[in-house]
């Protein structure tokens, strides 16, 4: 309560925090379901959805292309390359092994640069190793990369010089051990956000990333290995390229209304279409061009480009789903209603 005291006693007595609003809404006629301006194509979730002036609910990720989607691709390439390099070493495919070791080291080094470049304070990158927090996939990933990079580099150095065989073998084995985690932890990293198109795909995302990683490493193998050693890369490229396409579809299907973000974002739509074309072309060239070094290299390039474009599509769909409140509000409303119904 607040008031002013006058000679006549209390005046202007106000109820303060006990105040009761005078106007009660019996019907709100101004807030019709939010619609997009202009005659855009109709979308799922358009039905009944309100927002604050169409403003996004969550803040848009500050991660930028090409740094972060590039990193998702390079991390996958590095991780899967190290596994394939170990398998190539074990099966005495020397040229394939050497090329994949080098590609793994080059990819992980580039990805490190991309990650530091994307920081708001690049000079403080070492703070990433200040703690180890299992609740942060980025913390886990920083330690993974910090361990993986020297192992991969040792494998490459030995493969290049032909010396330090023991160190090289240890590096090859160690990198192959950590490589699968390097390739898949990034799925947990992007899914572990409030960004609808990333979070809603958390069940399938690691498998999409694993398939995409093997597809890219196999693509690299087809590009760099001589024909007599490229058998496994060809087989793996064809199968994992097909798996990548299938798993991506499955992931989108299980996202419900959020999958619209892959088409309502022009960039995501374009990247995904490009990925499909590149991967299908790569698979076809790998199957038809078995006896041609040029066709094999072309097939490998297709798989590499396809894998990269898949990551860019997922990245852009995430940004789109953060910027449009429908992707936050509609699924949450649906969840609430389902819960209230029991």
């Amino acid at each position: 309560m607040s008031s002013s005291v006058t000679k006549q006693g209390l005046r202007e007595v106000h109820p303060g925090r006990e105040a009761v609003s005078q106007v009660q809404a019996t019907a709100d006629v101004s807030q019709r379901p939010h619609r997009r301006a202009g005659g855009e194509r109709s979308m799922v979730g358009e039905a009944d959805f309100r927002s604050y002036y169409g403003k996004p609910i969550i803040n848009k990720p500050v991660w930028e292309a090409p740094d972060i989607p590039g990193y998702l691709f390079l991390g996958g390439l590095a991780g899967a390359s190290s596994v394939m390099a170990a398998a190539a070493t074990a099966s005495h495919r020397g040229a394939l092994a050497r090329a994949l070791k080098l590609s793994s080291t080059a990819a992980v080094s580039l990805s490190g640069i991309a990650l530091v470049h994307d920081l708001g304070r690049p000079a403080r990158f070492a703070n990433m190793l200040r703690v180890l927090k299992p609740s942060s996939p980025m913390s886990v990933g920083s330690w993974l990369l910090a361990s993986f990079t020297p192992l991969s580099a040792a494998a490459s150095l030995s493969a290049l010089t032909g010396r330090f065989r023991l160190v090289g073998a240890a590096g090859t084995a160690g990198a192959a051990l950590l490589g699968p985690a390097v390739a898949t932890y990034t799925a947990a990293l992007v899914s572990n956000t409030a960004v609808p198109a990333w979070h809603e795909g958390f069940k399938e995302m690691p498998f999409v990333f694993a398939a995409s990683a093997v597809s890219s490493a196999a693509g690299m193998g087809l590009v760099v290995a001589p024909l007599h050693e490229s058998g496994p890369a060809r087989l793996l490229g064809v199968t994992s390229g097909a798996a990548e396409l299938g798993l991506m579809e499955l992931m989108k299907r299980n996202m419900g209304a959020v999958k619209e973000a892959f088409t309502s974002s022009e960039k995501a739509h374009r990247y995904e279409k490009g990925a499909k074309i590149a991967i299908v072309t790569g698979i076809a060239a790998a199957l038809l061009g078995k006896h041609s070094r040029v066709a094999s290299a072309f097939a490998g390039a297709g798989l590499l480009v396809g894998s990269a474009l898949s990551r860019f599509a997922i990245f852009e769909a995430g940004l789109e789903s953060a910027e449009d409140p429908r992707y936050t509000v509609v699924p949450q409303r649906k969840r609430l209603e389902e819960r209230n119904r029991g």
Binding site: A80, R124, P137, N192, F202, A213, L235
Partner: protein, 281 residues
């Protein structure tokens, strides 16, 4: 798993973060039914915390030129103009003007804190969540993780910033600047338990007087973030104020994500082994 245990934790947030006999958890109860949209909270916050100016825009969104919470807006007053069907018998429609001061929710299960890879974000002894600006390296993970769109990166600075619930003021026993400046007690500061009880009484009072739209938001320890340290009394659906209707802390699903990443990693190895085994030389 440690993460699962932590997420199921229902007890004292400060105690479970390692503080021995912490003070009671504090927070805000923002009662939007008495907000008059004066923005004293926004101004007091900027002044006290040295939050820089971030653009002098005219948005056309009623009286709201702040637009939302971010690195340089730690309190944000929303203005919503709604046409309502008249009830006074004049046959004329009226206007209702909703105002609400939004702020960081200082979640019980705070996604920003969980995902911060440097340990820059931490839980204070008061149960609040604060960024240490001398440690933050601007990785941006907290920004993507926050289900409310609170924390953001400051331009030209690169680091993440948000409401500290005036950690410096709490440390010397005074209430946060916004609550101090609020002329209608729309922003109430205090021990969380006390605020929750007061909020329930207030909601019931409003219901009794016919304001049936009044509802509490973020008060329940059973919601997707384990309850907010800063919660609200609203007069319409949360999304009308720019709040998520059913937020969850993303790390709730992290154990499942790790399990699946593990299975996918094992599958990757198996596929490569099979590929090398199956290919002819």
């Amino acid at each position: 798993m440690a993460t699962e245990m932590n997420l199921l934790e229902r007890g004292d947030v400060a105690a479970s973060s390692g503080y021995e006999s912490p003070p009671p958890r504090v927070g805000f109860f923002t009662d939007t039914s008495v907000c008059i949209g004066c923005k004293a909270c926004e101004v007091a916050c900027k002044e006290w915390n040295h939050v820089p100016e971030d653009g002098l825009n005219f948005t056309g969104m009623s009286y709201d030129n702040t637009e939302g919470l971010g690195a340089d807006s730690w309190r944000h007053v929303a203005f919503i103009e709604q046409k309502v069907v008249g009830t006074d018998g004049s046959g004329q429609d009226g206007i209702r003007w909703l105002m609400a001061s939004d702020v960081c929710k200082h979640c019980t299960h705070a996604a920003c804190l969980d995902v911060c890879p440097t340990g820059s974000l931490f839980r204070t002894e008061f149960g609040t969540v604060v960024v240490q600006e001398d440690i933050c390296n601007g990785c941006g993970y907290c920004i993507s993780a926050c289900p409310y769109g609170v924390i953001d990166q400051r331009h030209g600075d690169g680091r993440a910033w948000k409401c500290t619930l005036c950690y410096d003021r709490l440390s010397v026993g005074v209430e946060p600047a916004c609550a101090k400046a609020c002329p209608t007690d729309s922003i109430q500061f205090g021990p969380l338990e006390e605020l929750r009880a007061r909020a329930e009484r207030r909601r019931d009072q409003l219901h009794r007087s016919g304001v049936i739209d009044a509802r509490l938001y973020g008060e329940s320890p059973d919601d997707g973030v384990g309850g907010d340290g800063a919660f609200f009394l609203l007069l319409d659906e949360p999304e009308v104020y720019g709040l998520p209707p059913d937020p969850i802390v993303t790390t709730r699903d992290l154990p499942a994500m790790y399990r699946r990443a593990g299975v996918a990693a094992a599958a990757l190895v198996s596929v490569v082994v099979l590929g090398f085994g199956g290919a002819r030389r």
